[in-house]
């Protein structure tokens, strides 16, 4: 058993329903033989360069604990999927669950008050 971080980038024109389907689909795969510690939605972000004719992408981030088989399974299925640009998995010995680098909610609240 080891800890993993997995992110994938969806195309910009995916609707909210399609994204929710993607999230539920891959979280189900993980839950079969591991457990999810955290899921984050980073939202629409600008890509640094054009990737497959896309300027922007929707980022989704999983933190989970499990075996190597899960990673192989996910990456196999993601590579066939149409609406996905890139994906990345990173292995860790320990996971830091508190820090969030892409949490912009606090800023939005500030603007709403004004």
């Amino acid at each position: 058993m080891a800890f993993y971080e997995h992110t994938f980038v969806g195309k910009q024109d995916l609707s909210d329903k399609e994204i929710d389907n993607l999230v539920s689909k891959y979280s189900d795969i993980i839950k079969k033989s591991g457990k999810i510690l955290k899921t984050e939605k980073w939202g629409l972000l600008n890509l640094a360069t054009k990737i497959k004719r896309n300027r922007k992408g929707i980022f989704i981030h999983f933190k989970f604990e499990g075996e190597n088989k899960i990673v192989k399974d996910i990456e196999k299925k993601l590579s066939i999927e149409n609406g996905i640009i890139r994906y990345l998995t990173v292995k860790y010995n320990e996971l830091d669950l508190n820090k969030e680098y892409f949490n912009f909610k606090k800023k939005n609240k500030f603007y709403e008050k004004e």
């Binding site: 980038v9 972000l45 640094a48 990345l88 990173v90 680098y101």
Partner: protein
């Protein structure tokens, strides 16, 4: 006289921004900025930090310019490469 004033202004900018085409005669502090107490953690999600150690064209800056220690430079370069895969940097 006006020309001289302009040149002086440019020189002061050199120290603020790190770049590949730097003058070697400017001295930098030798201590590593990433191994100080309460230093920021090197992570592929920490884009603000990674952007400091990248040139305008997307190259990784050498440690002789940034004065990052050898151990941290290795971790930095692997973090930058991961961020490049996702298109963050």
């Amino acid at each position: 006289m006006k020309r001289n004033k302009k040149k002086k202004g440019k020189k002061s900018n050199y120290k603020n921004r790190l770049s590949l085409f730097q003058r070697p005669d400017i001295r930098f502090n030798r201590s590593c900025p990433l191994s100080v107490k309460d230093a920021p953690s090197i992570d592929y999600k920490n884009i603000k930090l990674l952007r400091k150690y990248i040139s305008d064209t997307g190259k990784i800056l050498p440690s002789r310019i940034t004065s990052v220690c050898q151990n941290k430079q290795r971790k930095l370069s692997s973090a930058i490469k991961k961020a490049k895969i996702l298109g963050l940097v």
